[in-house]
Symmetry: C2
Subunit: 336 residues, 2 copies
Amino acid sequence: MNDTVNRQILLVKRPSGMPYESDFRLIQSPLPSPDEGEVLIQTRYLSVDSSMRIRMNDRNTVAPPYALDAVVPGGAVGTVLSSRSPLLDTGDYVAGMFAWEDYSVASAKNIRKINPDLAPVSTALGVLGIPGLTAYFGLLEIGRPQPGETVVISAAAGAVGTVAGQIAKLKGCRVVGIAGSHRKVRYMLDELGFDAGINYKNPADIRASLARACRDGVDIYFDSVGGEISDAVVALINDYARTVLCGQIALDNTREIHLGLRCQALLHRRAALIQGFRIAQYADRFDEARGQLAEWLTAGKLKASEHIVEGLENTPKAFLGLFRGENVGKQLVRVC
Amino acid sequence: MNDTVNRQILLVKRPSGMPYESDFRLIQSPLPSPDEGEVLIQTRYLSVDSSMRIRMNDRNTVAPPYALDAVVPGGAVGTVLSSRSPLLDTGDYVAGMFAWEDYSVASAKNIRKINPDLAPVSTALGVLGIPGLTAYFGLLEIGRPQPGETVVISAAAGAVGTVAGQIAKLKGCRVVGIAGSHRKVRYMLDELGFDAGINYKNPADIRASLARACRDGVDIYFDSVGGEISDAVVALINDYARTVLCGQIALDNTREIHLGLRCQALLHRRAALIQGFRIAQYADRFDEARGQLAEWLTAGKLKASEHIVEGLENTPKAFLGLFRGENVGKQLVRVC
């Protein structure tokens, strides 16, 4: 790699439905240089996340769409190569919203310094990053797990699901994970200690499999998927059940109207709740959550599930892989 | 009326879909007599409520089904004719879960004594009864109204909706009521001071009417209806919107699977909430709520909307009328 060249990945076409590699292009640019208050960062790990898909549309939804023919923004961990800010020094490990590129320039005040001795730096994008925080606040604040309750997790082998399920286990719950392959189910059972796992692609009847796995009904549904899987789970909710709406990956790539089971009648009968949230709502408690998650991680009570692809040039491939269900745990790209 | 005869209305057939008068039968029985700890009550007002429909099915849902060929249970206000309990005296006004009959015997400890000087006794079944409490806790605890917010209420001219809308006004909200006739819309606007009203049977396009009435979107949806009306409202929810699931009358009479808009994707994008509840969850705060509602009532800030049908024999007719949208406010039967 020539260190005076900055490889960057641009979004060159807005996907319609599933994204393709041809929606992205790798270009070579000159090394950027930091202004006053900024730092130059060398990317170490890049995060790819299914929630990025929605910002590739031209509609303004949760956040403004990504610009076309511009570098794709993305969470990343890197090291400071040069600093023009008193807040950060050369050599510091940092995490922040950088971009799909070898080198980024960013304002020091939007950057979080991380301690490489506390945990592997890649965890700043997973267990100790947005996915971990999402699992933590979604499960604990909306799900409010009680010992003995049954927690169903969709996309359970993903970046958020692996953490949510492990926290639910730490809280004394029975955890049933739903994922899209036998390999993922085995991982949840063997590596994460979940109580039951369902491969939604395998059983002829997801409803029957779920009913068998949730003989006492469902108290908490931590949902990152939506669609028919959710219809099946909602049918099993108990009185006062809580559904944490973490994502709706089943719907991100469709432009269809979401027709299916209207859940309201069941929610009404069960006096149950469904709630969406934004992680920014809990921003003033991120430190508290990171402290707790790091403590569990260090004590070996929480496993950092990561799926790492090598090379910046493979970032689009890693992103597409999310929708084919290739990753177990947090999908990362190791850049250097 | 012969006062040694007790007219009683039985459920003789479980309705399939919409109930009919032929599902009920009026019989004459001897006057019941109270045992130790019980009182004999002469019914003054009977409550009929759409939520009773679901208990006419043979499935166990929120509560066990009503028995067939037995008197229909129902909320009522009456006077104590004779008492075998130290808790109540002859002449006391009482409210409780009695039945569709002229005279009831009930255990004194399940009966609430009411003060006829505080408010007309019929309000014990409406504003100061379960409908008022449902509006109070649903709106305030789940809806959490803030001044300036837009509150949409379905079945807005009903027993609960009229109270929920008035409380929302008292909390400084903009209130948009949805009801099924021009007369009801006029009532909401002229008598209850709602800001906008929509007759869902009239506009060709409920979505367009709603969008015009809710130019700033919807912050709270107090929903007693469900179905397509709810689909239209959910499409307009703002960030952090709350939907209070009070009832799903649109679905009570159908056995179809509730196919329609899956709301989860929108809830996720808007970080919004839908929550069902049972009024019993708030039982330890009923006195507080009744005190506040009575205060508003006495101060003229809250209007008791009542729709009164005369004669026990017309109770089934009054009940069926609920599903034809005949009532404005709480539907009551004056028995004597």
